[in-house]
Symmetry: C2
């Protein structure tokens, strides 16, 4: 099987590649080719060096999608995107990469299929940014996509294209709306959502972290390990049971900030919690309280997608996957 991963240098992309390296049969068949693409050349784990081709490219550049699809990959993970803040700041770049680049990919698949039968599985990383306020208390699978950012608009449009191309049998697509990923590994960043991870990741290694919002703020979470699990499951599930609505809100954990802090205390003690410094930031509080708090991800749940049930589990995953199972 030939697997193509677009966005293979990103956080989820690297973890997906790592998972394939650790469990070569994870997609149900042996993988004999792995094409790893991103705007920078993606890293390749040693275990996959012999089958991998890392590529630095721009999907929105004319001819690139066709070239990738000429190799007829059987499974395509499309995780590449200009992120939310950048897509909002740079109208042209957001639409060019997130919409036109993705459409070029879909069109390349369609034209390849016109040469001879070719119906790859396509797994697309969508986002909860397809939704916009006002929200009901719990957002169900039938709730409208009314994004309030250009990024969310580009994701929602791609979802519609993915459903139509799948309905027509051009490819077999699944769109995955990821929860906010927590604990996000790496250095603290300035994304408005950063603190949800910072207040766990930093204290676990004896560092201070800033909490800019009240501890009653509620949001929707899953671990990076669950995120990779969603993509793997989407690549292997029987899509006949999915029907024409191909875009799925992933299961997650609805929790408030104090749930995070309580879990940190149980696992790492008061000394870890004492490293969280409360510094209210009304701008971040305003952004974050406009986000969705709770979903009923019934369809994804019924299709076998799984996430964590508590912040204790989410912390445990982080300790296992990022800290080699050891607390400082």
């Amino acid at each position: 099987m030939h697997v193509l991963i677009l966005g293979a240098a990103g956080m989820i992309g690297r973890k997906l590649v790592g998972r394939i390296a650790a469990e070569p049969m994870i997609l149900g068949q042996s993988i004999d080719r792995l094409t790893l693409a991103d705007v920078i050349k993606p890293p390749v784990p040693d275990a996959l060096a012999s089958i991998s081709k890392p590529l630095a490219l721009d999907l929105a550049h004319p001819g690139i999608a066709e070239k990738l699809i000429d190799e007829r990959p059987n499974v395509i993970f499309h995780l590449a995107a200009v992120v939310s803040g950048e897509a909002e700041a740079d109208f042209d770049k957001g639409y060019t990469v997130n919409l036109d680049g993705t459409r070029a990919l879909f069109e390349a698949i369609r034209h390849q299929g016109q040469k001879s039968a070719y119906v790859p599985r396509v797994i697309f990383a969508s986002s909860l940014a397809v939704f916009g306020t006002p929200f009901p208390e719990t957002i169900g699978d039938d709730f409208l996509t009314a994004p309030l950012t250009s990024y969310g608009t580009q994701k929602a449009i791609t979802e519609l294209l993915l459903a139509d191309y799948s309905r027509r049998g051009i490819f077999d697509g699944i769109g995955i709306r990821l929860p906010t990923i927590c604990v996000r590994p790496g250095a603290p960043n300035k994304a408005a959502s950063g603190f949800f991870s910072n207040i766990l990741r930093e204290p676990l290694v004896g560092k201070e972290a800033i909490l800019p919002v009240s501890d009653t703020v509620r949001h929707w979470f899953a671990s990076p390990r669950s995120a990779v699990g969603f993509f793997v499951h989407a690549a292997t599930l029987d899509t006949a049971s999915v029907g024409p609505r191909r875009n799925l809100t992933m299961p997650g954990l609805s929790a408030v900030v104090s749930d995070e802090i309580d879990a940190l205390r149980r696992i790492a003690g008061d000394k870890a919690v004492a490293l969280i410094r409360v510094e209210p930031d009304p701008v971040i509080e305003k952004i974050v309280t406009g986000w969705a708090q709770r979903f009923d991800a019934k369809r994804a749940h019924d299709l076998g997608f799984k996430a964590e049930q508590s912040f204790d589990e989410i912390l445990q995953v982080h300790i296992e996957d990022e800290l080699d199972g050891r607390l400082a």
Copy 2:
């Protein structure tokens, strides 16, 4: 004021032009320029001849949108589209005209606004085809757009673009999801929805019409006069009260076929009803029973959009507007 109507040769386009001819101040200001565009040269009423410029053009053709927008129309009605059946049969044509053509228009407005301040009102004819089964008994304003045709996909994508461009202040857009128009004037056509109009229009002039479905089939209707009223209202309403969700399901009448027949009997008697010949067609029955039956168009209603309350009213509109108020 300069008004541009794209799709001015179509049924709704002609009626909108006719309404402007009859009531020159209908859009709240006097119109000194009227650009009427379509793939065929649109007809121009005598009353508007001095201010009108009829154009035969293809919006999807490079440079056309820019040329139209260089004239900086203040109000743009975008009614032009490849229809549902054709967009399904011809993938490329549907996406090229309905998506790329419309996007070219939106981009031309954006680029015009970069030269100097320009924020026109844009009224877009969307469709209930943005929705797909399974439906709740009544479809509310929060229901997801999960189309089951390429046409519906193209309309849903355009709705998302319209909302994002409006949110960014590039233009001031309203998307209008029209009910099934009844009584549709003109000759009987083979559209699956044709019989809803045929069984009223033809008997009113002493001709036979075929009813291919059971009289319990329920659907969502408005007259052509209401449709024009929706567009006029959308061009003149205060969009500050609309908020970021710019696409509105229009009010309509939820009625079954027997409601149509009862109204025909009350208005034109048993001899008219006797002209309806029942010839069940399982193919049409299957298509039509997959359509939405009832909407709660609360937002549009609250914003002042109005439609008929009964089939008696719908028939009366047809008799006044198409038969000079006279029954055969």
